[in-house]
Symmetry: C2
Subunit: 277 residues, 2 copies
């Protein structure tokens, strides 16, 4: 008789709820998005849906109606009634017996949560410390997939060092991005970040940051740089959907810009707000 | 109010069953093993448990008693009463709100299935076709983790080409291993496979294959080789727990050894059986 065991409980395999056979858990065979709202309005909704559609396409999960996803997200956001909300959702290829090549009739699983945004006021005002970590991730980081163990391990390492974010460094010695953020440096009047052609996620917040940078007269340089260069930057910051721009005041053991958020970073935080109104 | 949505159904986040908040699905934050039995006896049980303990340690999931895992596996295997069984189990870091760095009081989740082995008789007798795929996996393939999307995508690609297994080729042009198997070539009286120092899983079946190879007088060469070299091999085969040795008779578009399982491969299949009695 086919059996399953959950913790200490044995049951016939056929009686398992499908969620236990989700390919999301067996393989990380799914993709996700994180959205946020500002004051009751979902930010960059269309861009996130477009990126989600691309992720689905890249891993060949087919038959998803993006307009239906949009409606589900909007419906649950409205029902939650949280003005500044964090919205997470994922779709996996479906549930079924564990087999790398799933059967043809798999039905994708949709899952979503809406909750309050974690408060980032202090982080934004005082800045955060970050630490570098080897970039152990796979070679398709352009896909926002559920394969995030490298990100988890890097973040755990950062936390042990008293840091809020881990910054990935690839085998060539160049920074790619943060474990859950894009990474930026300011040298003089130049705003520099890794080019989107590298093995990074096409960050939506990154795009708005670069627009804000242009708006305040910074020159945008999309070119890889090293930890050593970072530690000599005038200013550093990360960008992430849930917190937009967060100043970095310590990079590994090096204090940046006297340990206080830099002037351009503060200006960018202000300018970013204009996009969210 | 915090909300969750599963398919079309909305519910308060607090009412979600923990399985929906498993870090296995959010991050692939867990490790697994696959065991098999031969005629009522679990094969290489201790080696699999040792590898599992190592995987847990590498991703810092702590407090797991391996003897308890052993007892659970044995108990469910005995209860299933399947002589030639496939046993899959995983442990994830636990369930909780999605956050890369989990809270300190996470309780790991254990999940196991026992089912009949898929029949590999025809594959072993006739051999299989394999196709190469870029090795997109992360840099810690020594850990048997739930981050397997690259393996799934490679297997899907192989299936489209009418192949049973995908063989990974790294950025340097060398074969690492199969999407769910170790890969071997025979040149004359030399049995060659990727060294364990590469970014591969320390396969348990691999170890037994090399022992069997020595037993039949083959010279063991643990050295990386290319697809081009593979296509010129006298014999090719893969090794995987659930099927032990399976001959490869087609490599990409190249027919190997007249399209029939080679003599040494057949001898290795016989010799392997001695380990399983």
């Amino acid at each position: 008789m086919r059996l399953a065991m959950i913790e200490d409980k044995t049951l016939p395999l056929e009686e398992l709820e499908p969620v236990y056979l989700d390919r999301g858990i067996f393989f990380g065979d799914g993709v996700y998005e994180v959205l946020r709202s500002y004051n009751g309005k979902i930010f960059a909704f269309q861009e996130h849906l477009q990126r989600f559609a691309r992720s689905l396409n890249e891993i060949q999960i087919t038959g998803i109606d993006i307009d239906q996803i949009r409606a589900k997200v909007q419906k649950s956001f409205d029902a939650a009634g949280i003005a500044d909300a964090k919205i997470y959702f994922h779709i996996t290829r479906g549930s079924g017996p564990r087999d790398h090549v799933g059967c043809a009739d798999l039905k994708p699983n949709f899952f979503l949560t809406v909750s309050e945004l974690p408060d980032a006021t202090v982080e934004k005002a005082k800045g955060i410390a970050v630490s570098t970590h080897p970039d152990w991730r796979w070679k398709r980081c352009d896909i926002k997939s559920l394969n995030l163990l490298a990100n988890v391990l890097a973040r755990m390492d950062a936390a042990k060092k008293g840091c809020t974010e881990a910054i990935f460094v690839d085998e060539s010695g160049f920074i790619t991005e943060g474990a859950a953020s894009a990474f930026f440096a300011i040298f003089g009047k130049q705003l520099q970040t890794t080019p989107i052609t590298a093995n990074i996620l096409p960050s939506i917040t990154r795009k708005y940051v670069l627009d804000a940078g242009k708006n305040i007269g910074l020159e945008i340089i999309e070119k890889s740089f090293t930890p050593q260069q970072s530690s000599q930057a005038d200013e550093l910051f990360i960008a992430v959907t849930t917190k937009d721009i967060v100043p970095v005041v310590k990079f590994d053991d090096k204090v940046i810009a006297n340990g206080r958020p830099g002037q351009y970073t503060k200006l960018l935080i202000q300018k970013f707000q204009e996009f969210t109104m």
